[in-house]
Amino acid sequence: MDIVQRYIYAVTQKLPEGQREDIRLELQGLIEDMLDERTQGEPATAYDIEAVLRELGSPQELADKYRPRPRYLIGPAFFEVYISILRIVMISIVIGITVSFGVQALINPAEMLQHFINYIISMMTTGVQGFAWVTVAFAIIEYAGVRPKNKNKREWSLADLPEIPDRRLLIKRSEPIVGIIFSVLFAVLFTFSVELIGVIVFRENLREVVPIFNVENFARYLPLIWGLTALSILKESVKMIFRKWTRGVMLFHVAFNAATFILLVIMFKDSAVWNPYFIEQLVQLSILTPGSEAFEWVESIWNSGGNWFIAIVAIVTVIDIVTVCLKVYPIHKGAVENIRNH
């Protein structure tokens, strides 16, 4: 009877835990009944058992019949987009890490081997991260039931028919791709090469970088940056699925950009992330001479901390939000009025 237990196990292990015991008992009874029917009370031979199990069919098929509906982490509706986004993210990671490796090798060629080992390790860890984040983003999309086509069961009305999208509202495929590449590149840069962001000095035998950020303190914000990157991949994936600016896509886009802005403000307002010796290091490398006009100018900008930076990000964010709203809102409104006028 060992083989019967193995058969039952093969079926039930593929089913939700709560139902396993009940189905196990029921199948056990069924198989015994079928054996009795076959042997008419005689003890069952291995041959009988095999015949009965064959009659029940493959455990996989039987388990499928018990399952109410197929469950997916990422269903067929999104799988294509998932694969293309995954490909884009992976390519961006490779490019980003390779570039950062190239710059490090250029600045400090003596430690080539160490750079190369780091390069390989970063590639592995970041690859896994990238894969995980994209998968999580799509699992969320799948779970939230985002559907390009509305599959609600309620009765449909004429108003539900999607408008034939205005050409101006179509999102070019390149747009989300570029978006993802940039956010991944930034994440890679901030994660592995924050010390390279700064003033790079190349002079005769001198290759130095004066970093803008304080590398150690900056590291505390890395999880935030990864989170933002994941969110941004989510946002671009939504764009790639819908392929056009709907009101929902617009709201999502605006909300995401506003959230990014707030998080960046929190980060750059923290004076600990900036390199406290920035000016001194520039003077040491005789890029700046104390007392000169340039010195005053750089110092005044530097001392106002992240304010400049925040101002620039704020302007970019506002321009982006306004452009998108101006682009989407009038056209949608126009379309609705067109329907009313008919």
Binding site: E26, G29, E32, M34, E55
Partner: protein, 112 residues
């Protein structure tokens, strides 16, 4: 000519699939366990594979058409199913629909 047989078998399977549920509901005014139901249906000319019937019974129970109860008093524990009140109401309506359907299909067949 195996082609014709194959197509007929495929179509027949589809036709049968719809009738299984009404057949199962018809026999469950008294409690039955899965295998006894297989035998009863077989006796009356409806062949259903246990691997199809058992999952179907659970699904109908989940939809509220059947009630179930484990009987552990005998040597072999068995799960008995019977039509719920709700299931009986559904069955009654299905019967009416079935007769209707049967009549119209017969009508169609007569024309040709």
């Amino acid at each position: 000519m195996t082609d014709i047989q194959e197509i007929v078998n495929g179509l027949l399977q589809e036709l049968r699939r719809g009738t299984i549920i009404i057949g199962v509901l018809s026999q469950l005014s008294d409690p039955q366990y899965g295998y006894s139901l297989v035998m009863i249906l077989e006796e009356k000319g409806m062949f259903i594979d246990p691997g199809t019937l058992y999952p179907l019974l659970r699904r109908l129970e989940k939809q509220g058409l059947l009630d179930s109860e484990w009987d552990t008093t005998e040597s072999r524990p068995r799960k008995y199913y019977r039509r719920s009140e709700f299931g009986t109401e559904v069955y009654r309506q299905l019967c009416t629909e079935w007769r209707e359907l049967n009549r119209s299909v017969e009508g169609l067949l007569d024309l040709n």
